[in-house]
């Protein structure tokens, strides 16, 4: 036992420092994206980070059982909200993603990303051990995932729908369903893609082709990806230097402070900045996975690994998008992209993982006295 008081050693210093480093760097990039001004983005982002960090720390004090208990009710509430969004959207016409609560605009699909993980984790935690290799272990989870997935997909929000699906499937995988199920369906999907492609309309095919070769339409649909690649590519190893990115400062890079903030960063900080950034995210995921592996409680470990993977999907999809490996789907980069709702979601995930971490340490600590 060290002489440092226990509350201090228990406090998640290291992970907070990591988040602070990522978010701090993000704020610096936003400062540059606003042509060297803390307004309007950097200051807002910093304030948000502080608020949401406090919220995450608050969450970390809540016992894990509470999350388990509220997983299904929360899932039900968000699902109803998604239905409402669809109904209101149907009345108003066009795509609708928000419910206007008067004081704020609520985007329920955003909450669904962590909640689907908690819900599926809760389902497998409740499932008796022997049932895991039976049909009963599969269809309820598929229904739980499929409903919100379909609702979000018809909004249409392909990015979020993919993340919900991926989050849910990941938990199913971790829960111990037979491996051949995943391999089999993976192969089936891969085989279906060319067939599905042939059924697409010409304009849809075009979109796919432009994604595969954005330079073929540099002023149209491929513009975002082209300009993003130009920004990253022209940055080189060391970058053009802080506040010297021409692509972002001269407005060639669209959405340079939101979805394409990584390109803004890479232009000025180069491969070096990008690698450090990816490394920092990898550290975050390593922490999350290790928390999951330390934890004995079934719900807690599934939730920790699933939520970590949810954050991972944010990062991976966004980076693949800005580097031209995925189509433009509108997934922001956590802590870096300007915007409140994505940071809220990610901080919810982090807060719950911290709560699991804390509970795990407590239990292992208490075990000595028992």
């Amino acid at each position: 036992m060290s002489i440092v008081p226990k509350p201090l050693t228990e406090f998640p210093w290291r992970i907070l420092a990591l988040l602070l480093a990522i978010a701090g760097f993000g704020t610096v990039v936003l400062y540059s994206a606003a042509s060297g001004s803390i307004f309007p983005w950097a200051v807002n982002q910093a304030v948000r980070f502080c608020i949401f960090s406090a919220m995450a720390l608050g969450l970390s004090r809540i016992p894990v059982e509470v999350f388990a208990r509220f997983a299904f009710p929360a899932y039900g509430a968000v699902l109803i909200a998604l239905f409402l969004v669809e109904l209101i959207g149907g009345v108003a016409g066009g795509s609708q993603r928000w419910i206007n609560l008067g004081f704020m605009q609520l985007q329920p699909s955003e909450f669904m990303k962590p909640i689907i993980v908690l819900t599926v984790a809760r389902f497998y935690a409740m499932l008796p051990v022997g049932e895991i290799r039976r049909w009963n272990a599969i269809w309820p989870a598929l229904v739980l995932i499929g409903l919100p997935w379909a609702l979000v997909l018809i909004q249409p929000d392909l990015g979020t729908a993919t993340m919900i699906l991926a989050g849910g499937i990941t938990v199913m995988f971790l829960a111990g369903l037979p491996l051949r199920l995943f391999i089999g369906s993976g192969l089936t999907v891969a085989a279906l893609i060319p067939i599905a492609f042939s059924f697409l309309h010409d304009y849809q095919k075009n979109r796919v082709l432009i994604f595969l070769d954005p330079e073929s339409d540099p002023l149209g649909a491929g513009y975002h990806i082209s300009q993003s690649k130009i920004a990253i590519g022209s940055g080189g190893i060391w970058g053009k230097g802080f506040l010297k990115g021409s692509q972002s400062h001269l407005d060639y890079l669209p959405e340079g402070h939101t979805d394409f903030v990584f390109a803004t960063m890479a232009e000025e900080w180069g491969l070096l900045g990008g690698t450090l950034m990816i490394l920092a995210f990898m550290l975050l995921f390593r922490w999350g996975i290790r928390v999951a592996m330390r934890t004995q409680d079934k719900f807690a470990r599934l939730a920790a690994a699933g939520l970590t993977t949810t954050i991972f999907f944010y990062v991976a999809i966004n980076l693949m998008m800005v580097m031209g490996l995925a189509p433009v789907v509108g997934i922001p980069l956590p802590f870096m992209s300007y915007g409140g709702s994505s940071m809220l979601t990610v901080m919810l995930c982090v807060g719950i993982i911290m709560a699991i971490d804390r509970a795990g340490k407590r239990r292992s600590g208490m075990g000595h006295w028992r």
């Binding site: 051990v129 290799r133 971790l174 022209s234 692509q247 060639y252 990008g274 592996m293 004995q296 991976a316």
Partner: protein, 690 residues
């Protein structure tokens, strides 16, 4: 229900936990692998393909704009500028980039206090422009106006202020037809040449006259400016600038002072003056008045001003010196006389003029009804006796006259740096056979010898004729100072014969002949010449019986042309001149061809004295051509406003003076009309009042 697996594993808490750990490691590993792939991908883009993307980034950031080259000057024989460049601040519209055209124009009109004419012209240009051609909004702005536009640029997409050079013609309207004007390249030009310079704001090409003929020579090499621009085209900063190379200068044979003098001396008439150097054929002046002001044409002329010019019966849009064709009238008589001498007719042979002779079925009259009595060649030329030439021409036949006419420059097309040139006709039996499939008649010869009928000449040809009569050499007109050219060949007339002709032409002016008004005021310099009157209508027998109507009672378009060709000094010709006043009708002595020609020649010998006389005369004409045109423009604008009902008409109808003539069609050359419309009132134009 159960899975149809052949073997069923026993799943316990422990195995499940183990499975989880293993799979969590797989997930973690996959995450790490994807992270590595992303780093690899980034390295590929930013290291391996760095050069490609850096280049693309630079081409995004840097915009290369051309700086229009300054146009070469056009200078006169003494180095005085006829056309130069003036620094100016200007504003253009780039049609492609405009978001709300109407709002932009309104905003600009308010900022720059544009006239309604200009606003209309901008709208019209904007409609016609095919999207890539800049439309000029205004130039010659003050620095303050330029700055006012520049600071509002973010609110005015498509507006391009710039600092550049504009063409300036110090002599204004008097050089309009000689030099032409400049203007933005047309869409056809751009399609043909695909030169980005053509669509650069502020770049202009020669549109007419010498500006057009020597366009390539006058166009320099463009400079370039590298600027940093945003995606929306806003200029952030200038990076480097390469200065333009101005076009080359052209030195003309024109004497700027004489050119301006001649233009102003044409007074309120619709006429032209051409002066040629008898030593080598250099054209010293080529004035056609009234003319457009090339300064306002080069700026983009307003619709109203163009309408005024195109409706004016004095045809300011036509270069009369080259495109105007006139029956030469009696000015051909010295030439015919030279043909007579060549054919062996002695200068002392006389003809009796009874006032009229019968040729075939037609009675041909002399201009003097009572007749001249007995005349030799000198007297016939001095008195411009028609009967002498009717008789003599019948003796030698048309072919010999036509041959001399061609050698003297009639019907000849000169190699001139002008886009269009009318070169007239020298009729002869073969020509008539070819053209009309008719046999040449004696009355055709008779008509041709007095410069009527099929014979047509332009003012430049008439000046060439004067120069060739004066020198006996086939001088060729030339506009480029010091241009190498072969020595002129002889006209084919002996010096002896030429002396007879020169002496007779001297008698026209100084020997009691028809051209007394051309008498020189310069001591020791005697002007020789020949007057002419060209009818544009047929005089019927009925009218002749009742008395030929005077020109002052005829409509402007029906009045005779007044002509004069000559040279000075008569005994040692130095300068040759031609002057044609369209529908002048010999009505005002100091605005008639002989005196205009004589005064213009006097400028070459004593500029100060000639100028003094001109300034006195101009007071009576209402000022310089520029002042008169400004006044005409003002009254035309008011007349237009009245027409549209924007302004109530004034009670005394004084403004009708301006619009009165505008109803007459701007026909270039009325045919000799048989119209006998007695009710045509004299035009209410102040210039017509004697």
């Amino acid at each position: 229900m159960k899975f149809p697996f052949p073997k069923r594993k026993i799943v316990t808490e422990a195995t499940q936990s183990f499975t989880f750990s293993r799979r969590a490691m797989v997930v973690g590993g996959l995450q790490g692998a994807i992270g590595a792939v992303l780093v690899g991908r980034m390295a590929w883009i930013s290291v391996v393909q760095n050069e490609k993307y850096s280049l693309l980034s630079e081409s995004n950031r840097v915009n290369l704009t051309l700086i229009p080259p300054r146009r070469g000057w056009i200078i006169d024989r003494n180095g005085r500028p006829l056309a130069n460049n003036r620094t100016d601040f200007r504003v253009d519209l780039i049609p492609q980039r405009i978001v709300d055209a109407e709002a932009t124009i309104t905003h600009l009109a308010q900022l720059l206090k544009l006239e309604p004419d200009d606003v209309d012209r901008i709208r019209e240009d904007l409609e016609k422009s095919a999207g890539f051609r800049p439309v000029q909004v205004a130039d010659k702005l003050t620095y303050d106006q330029y700055a006012a536009i520049s600071v509002r640029l973010p609110d005015l997409p498509g507006v391009a202020p710039s600092q550049g050079f504009s063409r300036h013609y110090p002599a204004g309207a008097t050089v309009g037809h000689l030099l032409g004007y400049v203007g933005p390249a047309t869409a056809e030009d751009y399609k043909a040449r695909r030169d980005p310079l053509l669509i650069t704001p502020g770049f202009k090409v020669g549109k007419d006259g010498l500006e057009r003929a020597f366009d390539r020579h006058l166009t320099g090499k463009p400079g370039a400016k590298r600027v940093e621009v945003t995606a929306r085209g806003k200029i952030m900063q200038e990076l480097t600038t390469r200065i333009d190379t101005p076009g080359r200068t052209i030195k003309l044979t024109i004497d700027a002072g004489l050119q301006e003098f001649a233009g102003r001396r044409l007074a309120t008439q619709s006429g032209s003056v051409v002066v040629i150097d008898c030593h080598n054929g250099d054209v010293l002046a080529l004035a056609s008045m009234p003319s457009f002001d090339p300064n306002s044409f080069s700026d983009g002329i307003s619709h109203l001003e163009y309408e005024m010019l195109s409706k004016d019966d004095h045809v300011p849009l036509r270069n009369k010196t080259l495109q105007g064709l006139y029956p030469p009238g009696s000015t051909v008589k010295p030439m015919v006389a030279l043909a007579l001498l060549e054919a062996g007719i002695g200068p002392q042979e006389t003809i009796n003029c009874p006032g009229a002779i019968r040729v075939g079925n037609t009675l041909f009259h002399c201009h003097k009804r009572r007749g001249h009595g007995s005349l030799n060649m000198r007297g016939a030329i001095a008195q411009s006796c028609d009967i002498y030439f009717y008789q003599m021409a019948q003796r030698i036949g048309m072919d010999r006259i036509a041959s001399m006419a061609r050698r003297i420059g009639m019907g000849q097309k000169f190699d001139l740096p002008f886009p269009s040139q009318s070169y007239g006709t020298v009729p002869d039996p073969a020509w008539k056979e070819r053209k009309y499939n008719q046999k040449w008649q004696v009355y055709d010869t008779v008509n041709a010898t007095i410069g009527q009928g099929y014979m047509l000449i332009n003012p430049l040809q008439m000046a060439v004729m004067a120069a060739r009569l004066a020198t006996g050499k086939q001088l060729m007109p030339n506009f480029i100072f010091g241009a190498p050219r072969p020595d002129p060949v002889s006209v084919g007339a002996s010096e002896e014969h030429l002396v007879v002709i020169r002496d007779a032409m001297n008698a026209v002016v100084n020997g009691g002949g028809t051209g007394g008004a051309a008498r020189s005021s310069i001591p020791g310099v005697m002007v020789a010449g020949k007057t002419g009157t060209a009818q544009v209508r047929r005089i019927t027998m009925a009218e002749r019986a009742g008395g030929v109507r005077g020109n002052s009672s005829l409509a402007f378009k029906l009045r005779d042309h007044a002509l004069f060709q000559g040279f000075a000094p008569f005994d040692n010709p130095r300068y040759a001149i031609a002057c044609i006043i369209e529908h002048g009708g010999h009505m005002i002595r100091n605005e008639d061809a002989p005196m205009i020609a004589s005064d213009t020649l006097s400028y070459l010998f004593d500029p100060a004295k000639a100028m003094e006389k001109l300034e006195t005369l101009e007071k009576g004409w209402g000022g310089t051509p520029t002042e008169r045109q400004a006044r005409q423009m003002a009254s035309f604008r008011i007349a237009k406003a009245i027409e549209k009902g924007e302004v109530p008409p004034p009670a005394d109808n004084a403004m009708n003076a301006a619009s009165g003539n505008s109803s007459a069609p701007a026909a270039s050359q009325p045919p000799p009309a048989a119209a006998e419309d007695d009710d045509v009132p004299p035009p209410a134009n102040s210039t017509a009042a004697p």
